[in-house]
């Protein structure tokens, strides 16, 4: 059986059209459809059907308060909807994952510890996930 592996380097990452790939240390795109229990007394075990989609994108970024960097990009997005686009290239295959109209509920504005580079963990929820 043929398998393929790739180094998990993103070639591009934009949040609200702003490139943040140079600040990102980790990202997870999750396609999620909520399960609805449709079990009846006729069943011998739980059975489910698909409900609403509730896609999610979580990422870790280095914090930077410099112009055009992490804080300046995200501060005005808290409590609003935006679009996140991540591009992955594996050999000749390019996949562009777009989570459109996703909601950013919160952003840590300070996350510091002794002897560490400051990072922020973000979660964009909802919206429509498309792959091209």
């Amino acid at each position: 059986m043929a398998t393929t592996t790739y180094l998990s380097n993103l070639s591009a990452l934009t949040v609200n059209s702003v490139s943040l790939v140079d600040q990102c240390t980790g990202i997870v795109f999750t396609q999620l459809r909520e399960s609805l229990d449709k079990t009846t007394l006729a069943d011998t075990g739980r059975t489910y059907t698909g409900g609403l989609y509730n896609n999610e994108c979580t990422m870790t970024l280095f914090q930077s308060y410099a112009a055009s960097e992490t804080y300046q990009t995200l501060a005005a997005l808290v409590g609003t909807r935006t679009t996140v686009v991540a591009t992955v290239i594996e050999g000749a295959v390019t996949k562009v994952f777009t989570l459109a109209d996703c909601y950013l509920e919160s952003m840590p504005v300070i996350n510091g510890a002794l002897g560490e580079l400051s990072t922020v963990d973000l979660s964009f929820t909802g919206g429509a996930l498309s792959v091209s």
Binding site: N16, S17, V18, S19, L20, A67, S68, E69, Q72, T73, A75, A76, L77, T80, R81, T82, T83, A100, D101, C102, G127
Partner: protein, 54 residues
């Protein structure tokens, strides 16, 4: 109204920014990533007629 890119994080500075679906324009403007450019032509100042000679 059109938008001009003001940060290399968004694209080539000076190019027109065409927002894709779901892009939060207000946040980009607030962060200084793009600037608004009015496409309205400036109105001419009204000409002041001279008073007729008596």
């Amino acid at each position: 109204m059109k938008y001009i890119i003001n940060s290399p994080k968004v694209g080539t500075v000076g190019d027109e920014f065409e927002p894709a679906q779901g892009i939060n324009i207000e946040a980009l403007i607030a962060g200084g990533f793009i600037v608004e450019e009015s496409t309205d032509k400036p109105k001419k100042s009204p000409t002041i007629k001279k008073e007729p000679k008596e």
